[in-house]
Amino acid sequence: MQVNKQMIKGSTETLILTLLKEQPLYGYELIKELHRQSEGVFNLKEGTLYPILHAMELEGWVESYWMEVEGRKRKYYSICDKGVEALQHKKAEWLLFRGAVDRVLGEGGLT
């Protein structure tokens, strides 16, 4: 089943930050990881990923560094203190939202 893009949009930053909290990743790796961990639900378009990553870098949430691996220039992103804070905030926001949605839909949700 395909999930509505609008629903994914709101949580993309949270997901990216969560992955980067584990380890520094470069863009392509990040997308593959997101795809794998969500079991194919989050099929993020590359064209949306990079503007978000760059915006988070300018915001000071993540830092980037270049590394040459097997002759390829890869730009790795790693999370900063500010990003960890933002992630905590976003997580709390998400839990609140999820709780509210669950309550409205009723325990177990609608099928």
Partner: protein, 444 residues
């Protein structure tokens, strides 16, 4: 990478054509290009042909115009509007004060000052625009030459400079004068910082500290020879703060600087030539200062008489014999009162605060060093100028940046331009080289 697939190249060209700041193009090409190539490799392993894989990668990336536009919004040249607002209001106040002085207070011979100040402001704005547009990183390469040039200028200054108020400070050139000592005190910390930057930033050794001190000492000795204590102190404080900030060794730097400062002052006082001792002590006892007390007392009188709403365009100012040119804020309070004086104070605080805030927003380390150095110089002179307005500190030859009358404006506008130029590039500068260097050292 040179052997990129034609289709990918074309895609990246289309994407980059949307991004106006050219300096980010290489980074974007490297990052997105690599992404698409890795995706192609994966797809080719799954059995797609090269053409099909390229088409797939492009399809995944999405419309190049859309991606390019959102990248353009992120990596644009920026203008520091807050600082510009501060600067505009300070420039307006400066012109207003000169106008008031020329029309209501000054004698006939001062009539040309207003026109002069307008000319200085316009020249300043033109030079400022140049420095905003010009890429500041070029100066790093010129640092040694600038350092040598200014030191030579200081060295020959005793033979060339015009003597005014017992100080050899200005060079009289056809059409204009240059404040060589002033320029030295503003620019040399920047030059020394640029020369030593890499060495003191990564790992401070005794050798690099000594080199920094040596680079500081030469111009310091030249300024001592010129007896320009004010510029010497401004230069030294800026250099010391810059070192502490770059090396992140605040404690030892400040302690070291205080010890050197105290011993320098003591040795000057103990040799006690030219009545230095008296002049120095006067700083602590303004009531009996043989040189400056009259000045300080008349400033205090004027400020006290102004009240909340000022003395209007009366003649109090000239009666008290204060040289307006050196104390624009005193005129402001005299004419418009304490109430406007408070606004003036807030304006100056706003200006310095927006410079300070800039420091945090600059990621390029060299750019941040420029901003720190310029901010320190502006802040020192503005704070002391404000302090002189209260009449409680010794009157010395510091003019109020941007607000005071004179050609120093042009130079200050140029430095603000340099700072705004750093700010302009804060989101477009590529950190590719720098970061690689860091990872390389990390691996070692």
């Amino acid at each position: 990478m040179t052997d990129r697939h034609e289709k990918i190249k074309h895609y990246l060209d289309q994407l980059c054509s949307q991004v106006k700041a050219r300096e980010v193009h290489t980074d974007l090409r490297d990052e997105l290009g690599n992404h698409m190539e890795e995706m192609m490799l994966d797809k080719e392993q799954e059995g797609l042909s090269q053409e099909e894989a390229a088409a797939y990668a492009i399809e995944q990336m999405g419309d190049p115009a859309v991606v390019g536009k959102s990248m353009h919004r992120l990596h644009r040249h920026r203008m520091h509007w807050g600082l510009l607002v501060g600067l505009t209001s300070m420039a307006s106040v400066s012109l207003l004060l000169i106008w008031v002085f020329v029309h209501y207070i000054g004698e006939e011979k001062y009539q040309s000052l207003y026109t002069n100040q307008i000319v200085f402001t316009i020249m300043g704005l033109i030079i400022m625009t140049f420095f905003i547009i010009f890429d500041y990183r070029i100066w790093r390469k010129a640092a040694w030459w600038i350092y040598i040039l200014i030191n030579v200028a200081l060295w020959i200054s005793p033979m060339v400079a015009l003597e005014s108020n017992g100080l050899k400070r200005f060079w009289l050139l056809p059409g204009f004068t240059i404040d060589v000592n002033g320029i030295a005190s503003w620019i040399l910390p920047l030059a020394i910082g640029a020369i030593m930057f890499d060495r003191i930033r990564s790992d401070v050794t005794i050798k690099s500290t000594l080199t920094y001190i040596a680079l500081m000492t030469l111009p310091a000795i030249l300024l001592v020879q010129l007896s320009d204590w004010v510029r010497l102190v401004l230069f030294s404080i800026t250099c010391v703060l810059l070192f502490a900030w770059s090396s992140r060794k605040w404690f030892s730097t400040v302690i070291g600087a205080i010890l050197v400062g105290i011993s320098a002052v003591l040795s000057l006082l103990l040799t006690n030539r030219y009545g230095r001792m008296e002049r120095f002590m006067a700083g602590f006892d303004l009531q009996h200062d043989p040189y400056g007390s009259y000045y300080n007392r008349s400033i205090i009188e004027v400020i006290q008489s102004a009240g909340w709403w000022g003395n209007g365009f009366g003649n109090t100012f000239m009666m008290n014999q204060i040289n307006y040119l050196d104390h624009p804020a005193v005129l402001l309070i005299d004419v418009f009162g304490w109430f406007v004086g408070v606004f003036f104070l807030l304006m100056v605080i706003w200006f310095v605060a927006s410079m300070l805030k800039t420091i945090l927003r600059i990621k390029d380390e060299f750019g941040r060093m420029i901003v720190v150095s310029i901010t320190v110089m502006f802040a020192l002179q503005m704070i002391y100028s404000l302090a002189m307005t209260t009449g409680k500190v010794p009157i010395i030859s510091i003019s109020f940046p941007i607000i005071g009358y004179g050609g120093h404006l042009v130079f200050e506008y140029a430095l603000l331009g340099l700072l705004l130029g750093v700010y302009r590039r804060k989101d477009t500068i590529s950190l590719q080289k720098e970061k690689r260097k860091q990872t390389a050292t990390r691996v070692q």
